[in-house]
């Protein structure tokens, strides 16, 4: 039935990309202690290499899913193993495979206990995250969605900082609420959308306004916690502070994108009317997140918290772009999801690097680093500039498209969002001023060694991406165009179809009522 929309290709690319890290995780338990790091790195790199051709093989002009695979899983209810990517999920998939080897490298020396288990957790995490982006069956999606939480929980709970229990409980509480509502929403969709879990079919089904409204809020809680949108964000700073660097990177770069991806994959196509109805609230919350996150970032003394709150602000831009509901806004949001993954991930790595040297994440303990660590300071400045959206770097392209999309929707909203751009410069450069510049700190600073080859290996690809996307964003934008256009057309079409159906229903109801009235009067006459 839906097979028309799914062309199956020969080699199971996506299955291979998704499950290779899992296989690697199993493999890790059969290698010698000394080989754990290299094995993990080799697996992660192999996965990156495997996913890389997708970028070139992907047909930029075709709408719909590509590289699809479908295998029946459970007969009744009909649950399939169905995967595929489009222009929305492919960049996120590539971002994930790119970050996995970096996360392995980041943890090279930082993790001292249970290294084997740690690396296995990282790889399992990668499989779960990749699965979320490729799943085309709602149950499969939900399985990956929940599976992702377990390794994350372990990363924080086992390898986390001193206050990890508190962070883990908070993380758990928030996500639990979201997950329960998501499950309910999925079940409701199953029964209302034609007894299928096929995401593409469910997207085409069309639902009544009332049902859409209920589903919208259920989805909203589930996704808003992940983004995180104000006021569901307070798990984020604590989780970041307690998580090891690799955990922070996964959290900031990929996990936060799940919420925004959910909005794009489910809320917008499935619930177009509710989306249209609640857009002002979504934009309002996004604007609050942008400003609130920025002000929070200004007040932080802990580097990780500062960057965590800057994430809240940046993800506010992403949701703002999504709910501007036009091509510029959504493409900007997608760009910004990737950019945030690169830049904020890099900033967390920067914090991790300095934490390994000074054992403090406090701004007050780390200052004047430009003298002992010039390479480090250069990287920090580059990523800070990228994060504040300097033209020529990646974030500018995303922010610019988001703002222009927002401006087309509502001028005042764009003006408020622009304030966030100013504040971003303030908190990031103030941070750089205090951490990188100023007089070199007495005894501790002199012993600090600059970035070594391993750390440069992590930084260089990210720096290249910052400028490559900033100067040549089109190759990436081209991947997104068709899918985003399709999404918006769908939105419009469904709007119109729904309006037609509503009109028809109303007419029928009116006719029925009129008929009834006519019959009643007929009876009266007969009497």
């Amino acid at each position: 039935m839906s097979d028309t929309a799914l062309q199956t290709s020969g080699f199971p690319w996506l299955t291979a990309v998704v499950f290779l890290p899992l296989a690697g995780a199993v493999l890790l338990f059969f290698v010698k202690d000394a080989a754990v790091r290299w094995t993990a790195l080799a697996v992660a790199l192999a996965d990156l290499a495997l996913s890389f051709p997708l970028f070139f093989l992907y047909d930029r002009s075709a709408t719909g899913m590509q590289f699809t695979e479908r295998v029946a899983w459970i007969a009744s209810p009909p649950i399939n193993y169905a995967v595929g990517v489009d222009g929305i999920s492919l960049p996120l998939l590539l971002l994930t495979t790119l970050l996995t080897p970096l996360c392995v490298l980041v943890s090279w020396r930082a993790i001292e206990t249970r290294l084997r288990e740690f690396m296995a957790t990282i790889l399992v995490m990668a499989t779960a995250m990749l699965g979320v982006f490729v799943a085309l069956d709602f149950v499969l999606f939900y399985v990956f969605w929940e599976a992702m939480l377990i390794p994350m929980y372990l990363l924080i709970g086992v390898w986390g900082g001193p206050n990890r229990l508190y962070a883990a409980v908070k993380f758990f509480l928030y996500t639990l609420a979201g997950s329960v509502l998501l499950l309910i929403a999925i079940l409701v969709l199953f029964f209302q959308g034609g007894h299928t879990f096929d995401i593409l079919l469910l997207s085409k089904a069309g639902y009544s306004q009332t049902l859409q409204n209920w589903l919208f809020w259920a989805f909203f809680i589930a996704f808003a916690v992940k983004v995180p949108m104000f006021p569901f964000h307070t798990w984020l700073p604590d989780a970041h502070v307690e998580a090891p660097t690799a955990g922070s990177v996964f959290l900031a770069s990929v996990l936060l994108k799940m919420g925004a991806y959910g909005f794009l994959r489910f809320t917008l196509p499935m619930l177009p009317d509710a989306t249209a109805a609640f857009t002002p609230i979504m934009v309002g919350l996004s604007l609050i997140a942008i400003l609130y996150g920025a002000y929070m970032a200004l007040a932080q003394a802990d580097l990780k918290k500062l960057i965590a709150y800057s994430s809240v602000s940046h993800m506010g831009f992403v949701t703002l772009g999504i709910f501007a509901l036009n091509a510029q806004g959504i493409e900007g949001a997608l760009m910004q999801m990737i950019n945030h993954g690169i830049t904020t991930g890099a900033l967390f790595i920067c914090v991790g690097i300095i934490y390994e040297r000074t054992h403090s994440r406090m701004i007050a303990d780390n200052f004047g680093l430009a003298n002992p660590m010039p390479r480090y300071a250069t990287c920090l400045v580059i990523f800070a500039l990228s994060s504040l959206g300097l033209p020529g770097t990646n974030s500018f392209v995303g922010e610019f498209l988001i703002l222009i999309g927002t401006f087309l929707w509502n001028k005042a909203a764009a003006v408020v969002a622009s304030l966030g751009v100013i504040l971003a410069a303030a908190y990031l450069l103030w941070m750089v001023q205090r951490v990188a510049f100023g007089p070199t700190a007495g005894h501790s600073a002199l012993r600090l060694s600059d970035l070594n080859w391993r750390e440069m290996t992590i930084m260089v690809p990210l720096i290249v991406l910052v400028f490559w996307i900033g100067l040549f964003p089109n190759p990436l934008l081209k991947v997104m165009h068709t899918s985003v256009d399709h999404l918006i057309e769908q939105e419009d079409q469904e709007d119109r179809a729904l309006a037609r159906r509503d009109a028809r229903e109303m007419r029928e109801r009116r006719e029925a009522r009129d008929g009834h009235v006519a019959q009643v009067s007929l009876k009266a006459n007969n009497k």
């Binding site: 609130y292 622009s418 100013i422």
Partner: protein
């Protein structure tokens, strides 16, 4: 060929940036600085060829490099527009830029981070060239932010100095406020024209309503105010003097800060449609010109006096834009680039000679020790003060005359007063630095030396330009300069010339004003040095207010910076107390819920069961009492039972109780 030359202009410094930035540590300083100034020199030659071509053909040409962004129906190219306005800016930027690069070789000799300096300077050249060459608003914006970045990096060049790091952050953040306005202007342009290319926008500008044109013009103005350090966003520029002196000359005097003026002239089509915006531009400029000049009167740091002077001169350029004298604005931009670069670099030469001393109270009598620097600085002073026939005279006079002949008398009066103050503070600076008794610390005095040729050479060129730089603009409003620029600056109501008599009268007035300023400075700082202190003591409050720059920094700190930080703290408190409080509340409720259900099970459910058991036990005991074995007890019970039974039967039959029957 033309396309290649145009592309090479920014591409050459970019190549130098990449080489010096990535490989700079691998080779010697000599290679690094040769790459630095060499690339700019070749760019300058390319610019001359491009200029000659434009002069010959007289048409604007566009060169597209590649498509940068497209999203939705928005397509943005990295493309250049070469027209007379761009040509003038190109010559000024690459020409003055080249001289300052050359000077830097001597000035920065032996400094830590020598290669880094040239990398940043070249990156600045790239950004500034993109800014003036772009054929659309977004390329302008890349350049705009790029120069801001380089300004940030170079102000903070001595990064281990806290004041430098702070000044750098301040400059960037204050500029960002303006940039936000600029971004909004770009969005407005896109919404109204569906393109960001100048030529298409200006061709369709006629369809705009006055309100929209005003909105765009005002948003652009906000951007220009930030970049060009006008009221109320000028406070970053004096602090920017923390950077090395060549940076102050190139970025914070000759080129970057004039970007706002360039932008307004570039968009003059939109401004011509928005009279309210024009008036705003004129008054922002006029007030800044006067305001900054008054602060400049009493400052004691040689570079800060020049910084306030720059703010003031930029005010003149804004004033010129606001009254529609676009060509005059660009003319003043050009001459100002010559004499202000000269002044800053000569000041650098002074500072160099005095081992880093910048306080003019510790200078004096340097004329004999550094004669070259003295003569060059004096030429700069004469030029900026508007002494006939130096460059500053022609350009400044033209602005004032335009104001007068177009009946902006209030602005004219402000401009004249500003000119008087300019002349005064510049000669004050000259007298305090080079004349009178030496107040130099004797340790420093032993090392005073004239600067090397590599520094003096560029200064001589700039001095010559400061002398003759005004002649292309003679006669006023009708010179070669104006004819060349006309295709790019023709606005509404441009055409009309004042009578010769009026022109001469205005020129004479301007000269007299400038001479008066000189005279007063001569009296106070040469003839009667004690009089200046007496004047200052005579009006202590006014003097202190000026010395503290009207306390504007303190006021901003109180009204903007501190409240912003406090708001951050408030948000932090809100986050931890209220939002986290709610989350923990849910946790507590869940926790206490489980405690409650445990308690409920323990006490209520088990309790009920126990109660039931106990009740059973109790009732059994009472029932047991009935079985007393005494007959009269049984009889009484039978009677009571019968009574109840009969009563029930009666109720059943009659529907009423015995009591009810009795009452009936």
């Amino acid at each position: 060929m033309f396309d290649l030359l145009v592309t090479l202009i920014p591409a050459l410094p970019l190549t130098a940036v990449l080489l010096n930035g990535l490989l700079g540590t691998r080779y010697s300083h000599e290679v690094a600085h040769r790459l630095g100034w060499g690339s700019v020199a070749v760019s300058f030659l390319c610019a001359i060829v491009v200029f000659a071509d434009t002069l010959k053909t007289g048409v604007a040409q566009e060169v597209t490099v590649y498509t940068w962004i497209f999203g939705g129906d928005l397509t943005i190219n990295l493309a250049f527009l070469i027209d007379p306005l761009t040509c003038i800016m190109l010559l000024v930027v690459t020409g003055v830029g080249f001289l300052i690069h050359l000077y830097s070789v001597g000035y920065m000799h032996g400094e830590r981070g020598f290669t880094r300096f040239f990398t940043y300077m070249n990156l600045f050249m790239v950004s500034m060239l993109l800014l003036v060459m772009g054929n659309n608003y977004l390329v302008l914006f890349i350049g705009w932010e790029g120069v801001g970045l380089c300004s940030y990096l170079l102000i903070g060049y001595y990064y281990d100095r806290v004041s430098a790091a702070k000044a750098a952050t301040k400059a960037f953040v204050v500029n960002r406020i303006g940039d936000a306005g600029f971004l909004l202007a770009i969005f407005l342009v896109f919404v109204n024209f569906n393109t960001l290319d100048y030529t298409q926008v200006f061709a369709q500008a006629g369809k705009l309503s006055t309100e929209t044109a005003t909105a765009i013009a005002i948003c652009l103005l906000i951007g220009a105010i930030g970049k060009s350090a006008q009221i109320p966003l000028y406070t970053w520029l004096p602090d920017a003097m923390e950077g090395p002196t060549p940076v102050s000359a190139l970025i914070h005097a000759a080129t970057m800060v004039t970007a706002g003026v360039y932008m307004i002239v570039r968009n003059h089509v939109l401004y011509d449609m928005a009279p309210v915006a024009m008036t705003t531009v004129a008054w922002v400029g006029g007030l800044t010109a006067l305001f900054a000049a008054t602060i400049g009167l009493v400052q004691n740091d040689i570079k800060r006096v020049l910084a306030y002077s720059t703010v003031s001169q930029l005010g003149y350029m804004f004033l010129a834009c606001g009254i529609g004298a676009y060509a005059a604005a660009i003319f003043h931009l050009m001459t100002h680039a010559f004499f202000k670069a000269l002044l800053f670099l000569s000041a650098g030469s002074v500072i160099h000679a005095l081992s880093g001393e910048q306080d003019i109270r510790k200078m004096g009598g340097l004329k004999a020790k550094i004669p070259w620097t003295h003569s060059l600085f004096l030429v700069g002073t004469l030029a900026i003060a508007g002494i006939f026939p130096l460059a500053g005279f022609w350009s400044k006079d033209e602005i004032m005359a335009h104001a007068f002949t177009h009946h902006y008398y209030a602005l004219y009066a402000i401009a004249v007063l500003g000119a008087f103050l300019t002349s005064f503070y510049m000669f004050r600076l000259t007298y305090l630095t080079f004349y009178g008794q030496s107040r130099v610390d004797h340790h420093v005095a032993e090392h005073i030396h004239e600067s090397p040729t590599v520094m003096i050479g560029p200064l001589v060129v700039l001095a010559v330009l400061s002398v003759i730089g005004g002649f292309p603009g003679v006669p006023p409003e009708e010179g070669w300069f104006h004819h060349f620029l006309r295709p790019a600056t023709t606005g509404v109501g441009e055409e009309h010339s004042a009578g010769l008599g009026l022109v001469v009268a205005l020129m004479s007035a301007a000269t007299v004003i400038a001479l008066m300023g000189w005279g007063l400075a001569h009296y106070l700082y040469s003839v009667r040095p004690e009089a200046a202190q007496r004047w200052a003591a005579g009006a202590p409050r006014a003097y202190q207010t000026l010395l503290n720059k009207y306390y504007v920094d303190e006021i901003y700190d109180l009204l903007v910076v501190k409240p912003t930080k406090r708001l951050g703290m408030l948000c932090d408190w809100f986050d931890r107390t209220v939002i986290d409080g709610m989350v923990l509340g849910v946790w507590r409720v869940t926790q206490s819920g489980s405690a409650f259900s445990t308690g409920f099970e323990k006490y209520v459910i088990y309790g009920l069961i126990n109660i039931m058991g106990y009740a059973n036990h109790l009732s059994a005991r009472s029932w047991r009492k009935l079985q007393s074995g005494m007959v009269h007890h049984y009889a009484a019970m039978i009677v009571a039972g019968l009574f109840i039974l009969v009563h029930l039967i009666l109720v059943w039959w009659t529907g009423s109780s015995v009591i009810g029957l009795a009452l009936r």
